[in-house]
């Protein structure tokens, strides 16, 4: 029986202090094919990732955004023969033990598995819950598909999905654009609850979504819709 080739894609921007431990945790969960996409970091993230043997480390010469990095990573994994691609954030907020149920769902015939923080939002800050609900409503209005967590970056894709999904946006609006593509291609998807670890490190990053970024994301979503 053919064992599917699973690739984990991690976009990383200035995650130099944590990237090696994120990789180590994924490896200890049993996944060896890891693609790190350094998005023009200035803190040596690429060099740190490259130090680990067996890692596919790619680098954007200049910062292009999370969406652009994920797309590069998926494209790289596809070229390397991936059957299943899992995308997760590079700041360690996603738990690698959630990958297994995602793979199971893909094996059951789903094209896309969306990790949802809102299926069980214990420990999630209230403002993030509100922000996510607003995002979900906007995605539903613009793209016509209702999901419980349209902004989650922890997702799994089948080979069929990575061939069909074609995104154009580069930054945080990417996650919403994927929802549009699921709807457009009528891909079979499922949402499963995921754990999110809100550490001091992940909450302290300046690149995270704030009101200004939220408005920019909305404008880009409208332009790309």
């Amino acid at each position: 029986m053919h064992t599917p080739s699973i690739f984990i894609v991690i976009p990383a921007y200035n995650e130099g202090t944590i990237i090696q431990s994120v990789i180590a945790e994924i490896r200890s969960a049993g996944y060896t094919n890891i693609v790190i996409v350094d998005d023009g970091s200035t803190d040596g993230t690429y060099e740190k990732a490259k130090e680990i043997p067996g890692i596919v480390a790619l680098r954007h010469l200049i910062n292009r955004g999370k969406g652009a990095s994920v797309k590069t990573g998926i494209e790289g994994a596809r070229k390397l023969g991936a059957d299943i691609v899992v995308t997760m954030d590079g700041d360690g907020q996603h738990n690698p033990s959630d990958i297994a149920p995602m793979i199971t769902s893909i094996d059951q015939g789903y094209d896309v598995v969306l990790g949802s923080r809102l299926k069980d939002c214990t420990g999630m800050p209230k403002y993030k819950i509100i922000h996510n609900h607003i995002g979900n409503i906007l995605v539903w209005m613009l793209y016509g598909l209702w999901v419980t967590d349209s902004q989650s970056g922890f997702r799994a894709y089948s080979k069929n999905a990575i061939t069909k999904i074609d995104t154009k946006t580069d930054r945080y609006e990417y996650d919403s654009e994927v929802i549009r593509e699921i709807h457009r291609h009528q891909l079979k998807f499922i949402e499963i609850p995921i754990e999110v670890r809100y550490t001091e490190y992940s909450m302290g990053k300046v690149q995270k979504m704030n009101l200004t970024n939220g408005i920019k994301t909305l404008i880009k979503m409208i332009l790309s819709s």
Partner: protein, 113 residues
């Protein structure tokens, strides 16, 4: 009917038909939301260019009775359209830059294969 009315109605009709055709052809760039915007904006322009008296009654009713105010309003609409077009162009340029950066990043894999 004045020459301005004919020009405005023709332009509005062209934009409307283009938007509807794109939606019928199910072109990727044309979503229901964009069609809705096209129908609202260009539909209103077509309607008011064919029935200008309605516009006068409407502007009097909402306190925009003077010609100067109408001109300022039209100016805002034009600026809005220009800004929208510029944002679209910038977005397209950004996408092209990302595509070049991506190709460069993936060269490493291409060389290995």
């Amino acid at each position: 009917m004045s020459i301005y009315q004919i020009i405005l109605a023709t332009v509005a009709f062209l934009f409307l038909s283009n938007g509807i055709l794109k939606f019928i052809k199910r072109e990727r760039s044309q979503t229901f939301f964009k069609l809705f915007l096209t129908l609202t904006i260009w539909g209103s322009i077509l309607f008011f260019s064919l029935f200008p008296k309605t516009a006068q009654e409407f502007s009097s009713a909402i306190g925009l009775g003077e010609n100067l105010n109408t001109l300022i309003f039209i100016g805002f609409v034009i600026i809005f359209i220009i800004v929208f077009k510029l944002l679209n162009i910038i977005e397209k340029l950004e996408q092209n830059i990302s595509e070049i950066v991506r190709k460069e990043a993936l060269e490493k894999i291409d060389k290995k294969l």
